[in-house]
């Protein structure tokens, strides 16, 4: 009875640690024959991450039963950070007591961290049919958010078929950034209906910071007064990380 997942480099693990730690401190990863999954919401139920990392992504993957691996992300993150770019990482477990982390391809380093009891119940993913879709350079999107963040805590996104506006209103003033299909870094803007919704910048900025430079383009979907979804790839063979954020609806 064992679980082993080995990657050539620590890059994906680093990304996962960064992304997951923006919303939960004690995530439960599920490992089964298909691969590793994680699904979790932040304590205020505003943001969610849905992650799928299929077995084909790994240099070596074995899992002969279902494992629920719950841990303090800070502790695993510290170990992953010990790895250098060229180290391979092998994560394994034989029971629900310990997770074993081996850093190889260099000095052989082995760590154990204690698994903890899961306090979360299984999560569903929001059922959404979203009207507007944008595919954009991650850097362009992050820049735009920071522009709006210079004056506001929230961002309002307005899309019609050809252009998208990012609007911020704060105590100090206003910001409005317009992107067209022809702008550099914008690959797609499509909208079934004109869509307008408002979201917290704090959540968006922290997830984009966590993504770092690992994703070049990201796709965004949303609808009128509905949640916002960011999708980006994890590895080369069908892995993904989806981020969901509930809207802010000021109905004063």
């Amino acid at each position: 009875m064992s679980f082993v997942a080995k990657t050539k480099s620590p890059a994906e693990w680093k990304l996962i640690m960064n992304v997951v730690s923006t919303i939960v401190e004690e995530p439960s990863f599920e490992a089964n024959a298909e691969g590793i999954q994680f699904r979790g919401m932040d304590p205020s139920h505003v943001a969610m991450i849905d992650l799928n990392w299929p077995n084909a992504s790994f240099e070596k993957y074995e899992c002969d039963k279902e494992f629920k691996l719950t841990l303090r992300i800070e502790e695993l993150s510290k170990l992953i950070k010990r790895a250098k770019q060229n180290n391979s990482i092998s994560i394994s477990a034989e029971d629900d007591e310990y997770l074993i982390v081996k850093l190889e391809n260099g000095r052989k380093r082995e760590f154990q961290i204690r698994l903890i009891e899961s306090s979360q119940s299984p999560q569903q993913v929001p059922k959404l049919a979203l009207d507007s879709r944008i595919v954009i350079d991650k850097g362009v999107f992050e820049d735009t958010l920071n522009d709006v963040g210079a004056v506001a805590d929230h961002i309002t996104i307005e899309t019609n078929n050809d252009e998208i506006k990012f609007i911020g209103n704060g105590d100090a003033g206003k910001a409005e950034i317009t992107l067209n299909k022809s702008d550099e870094g914008v690959s797609e803007i499509s909208s079934k209906v004109e869509s307008k919704a408002t979201y917290s910048l704090q959540y968006l900025l922290s997830i984009l910071k966590a993504i770092g430079t690992t994703a070049e383009t990201i796709s965004i979907e949303y609808s009128n007064k509905m949640p916002f979804k960011i999708e980006f790839r994890l590895g080369e063979v069908g892995g993904y990380i989806n981020f969901y954020l509930a809207p802010r609806i000021d109905d004063r």
């Binding site: 919401m41 932040d42 304590p43 205020s44 139920h45 505003v46 943001a47 969610m48 569903q124 993913v125 929001p126 059922k127 959404l128 805590d153 105590d171 917290s200 704090q202 509905m226 949640p227 969901y244 954020l245 509930a246 809207p247 802010r248 609806i249 000021d250 109905d251």
Partner: protein
Amino acid sequence: MTNKDIHSLAKVIEKKSLSHVNESTSNIVIDEPPPEMCFSCKGTELLCGKSRCPIILKAESMTRVSPTSDSNNIAGSTPPGIFVGRHGYPKVSIGPMTPNFHGDTEILDTPEQWYGKSIDEIVDYRHSLIRGSTNVDVKQASTGGRLVENIQELAMASQPVELELKLTKKPQNRLSFNENSQPFGPSAPLDHFSTGNVTVDQRIEKAYYDRDQKSANGIVELYDKGVLVSRIQKTLSAGNLGIGNNRKFVPTRWGITAVDDTISKSLIEKIKDRPTIDDFRVYVLRNLDNLYVTILLPTQWQFEWIEAWFTNTTWNLWGKEPYIIGDHETYYGRKKYARVGGCYYSTRLAVAESLLSENKQAGAILLREIHPGYILPVGVWNVRESIRHQLKTNYESFDNLSDTLDHAFSQLNISKNQWLNSSYLLNHVLFQKRLTEYL
């Protein structure tokens, strides 16, 4: 004090309270040239808009409690009290503080006992402590020396200590005509001081001898053992905590906030594991013409502190409308120092402490209105003790957010919309949807 000064004072306070003040024995110095407004007003017209004249309050307190002896030698029972200044850091002035009388003086430097006292009494406590000051480099806290060790020992005392100060000159009591300054007692450069027997608090002594413990851990451990927050602050300021060679004197004002911050962080880590409260609550308290409304929500830990300085209060003398400023943190805490300053951390401590005693977590939104009767800022202890007290009183309980906010805003003078414009968390709880609504 010159005859002219006495003459000036006689115009603004009752003559009989000046009967024992004369040119040769008084130690009151008029600090700043009195602004024209104050002198044309003389406290009778309250041109500054406050409900009482803060300068008169301080002048009366000084003539009431300040020693008028012309001696350089002061003897009394120290609460115990020490002071570490912040000007010139890392070269700062430090020294012991004592009144010029003997007895149980503990209350004079123990803000935990000040809740419910009038502003006059609090100003009296401050004015009655005479400070002898000497300049040191903060790092001398780890290198020792007789004076340093004596001050550190004094800071460990569990009860008042007999103290004799020999000062190089007569202590001066500065009556600042800057009406917004906090009251401070008289001071003079220290020649030397000697103490009677010091009974040390063994909990603090143990921390002092533990030279391998980081100061943050020392602070939390002392708190867990029941040492008063104000005593822990004194312990930190005296350089009695931390890794041996790194110990430093910490300016009193910084030490107060460092301790509030450190303790509340450790309490918050504990309450995050606890279940949330089951209801929505509104607590209301008035103290020293401050109005506090605390809203507790059945959510995960989050915290916001907003204060509204009415016109004619210390930090908003000339404005046309209340000045509102606040800060917040989500479940994950905050990294930057709060713009509102130390009171953020003092009240966060009061809230976290109350929740932990109930074994619960909650979201907390604290709204404070400062009305013109709060004529002087008396220190962050005021908000800490007020909120501690408030959270022990009865509250109104509700089962939904809307009724909760209606009740909370009905207690306040500033409108709901004005608060909403300044509050992150109010906006968040009112308008932020949850993903669970879309599953």
